[in-house]
Amino acid sequence: MCGPADFGALQTSITRLIALWAAGIASYAVCKAVSLYRERRLKRRNNEKRATGGVLPGLAVQGSGERSNS
């Protein structure tokens, strides 16, 4: 009913499953590393933008204060 046992095929199957598992984990690790790198780059850009954009409002506040004092 079951056909002849083929332990060679089973061994091949286990080897291939391990290879697929390893490939999956490796590709997941690469994707994760790339996404982390992108996230950091995005954060750095946002910080830089905030740093450059934050100077003008500061000056404006200072300017308005001076005006009110005079």
Binding site: C2, G3, A5, A9, L10, T12, S13, R16, L20
Partner: protein
């Protein structure tokens, strides 16, 4: 974007169907085709039968369907369902799985176990039925939370596939299943379906998070 919305009223419940657009259909087809290739690569002829009957000493026929083929197919189809979040995706994934499997087996002469009738018309019909079951449970079980829905879908779709094999395929290839083996094989089928549903939900959660992150960027 070709997205259709159908609202069907069934008594007091409203079932909302969001049919797949082209991009989602392509994603589901790619998942189905890729799944078929991976299955053909990972399980050469005789591997599943040897594992089930010689190593685990499970009765047959149906142990391989309940513990290996059904859960693997469930993983592919549920992943397509969770990732596309639309109706029609699981059916496309299951159908393309069957067609890709049959095409590769016919074109490249890959040897398969004749017991499972892999690559035949009945095989493609079994996969289409599997996809339809996933569709039905996904649509009807929309009140359930996603993890529970995945578990329920995995179990019921696996049971439907096994029963179809018992009734339509195995009688033509190896013979009818014995009544005394049915409870054990059904138990294995339930366990396989549960594991498949859980793994599909976990994987899809990680993948959808990654997709959402990329879209945000």
């Amino acid at each position: 974007m070709l997205q259709y919305s159908l609202a069907t009223s069934m008594g007091s419940h409203n079932i909302r169907l969001n049919l797949v657009n082209r991009k989602e259909a392509a994603l589901c087809a790619a998942l189905g085709g890729g799944g078929a290739l991976i299955f053909l690569f990972a399980f050469p002829k005789g591997a599943i039968s040897t594992l089930m009957h010689e190593v685990l000493h499970l009765p047959g026929p149906g142990a391989g369907i309940a513990l290996v083929f059904g859960p693997f197919l469930g993983l592919v189809v549920l992943a397509s369902s969770v990732l596309s979040r639309t109706n029609g995706g699981p059916l496309i994934a299951a159908f393309i799985f069957g067609v890709a499997y049959a095409l590769v087996v016919r074109l490249f002469g890959v040897p398969t176990n004749p017991k499972g009738a892999f690559g035949s018309v009945l095989f493609v019909a079994a996969l289409a039925l599997f996809g339809l079951t996933v569709e039905a449970i996904t649509a009807l079980g929309s009140a359930l939370k996603q993890p529970w829905r995945c578990l329920l879908t995995g179990v019921l779709a696996n049971v439907v596939l096994l029963v179809f094999y018992w009734l339509a395929i195995f009688p033509r290839t190896v013979g009818w299943v014995k009544w005394k083996d049915v409870p054990l094989l059904l138990g294995a089928c339930l366990v396989g379906g549960l594991v498949s549903g859980y793994v599909a939900w976990t994987l899809s959660k990680a993948l959808s998070r990654a997709f959402a992150h990329e879209q945000k960027e």
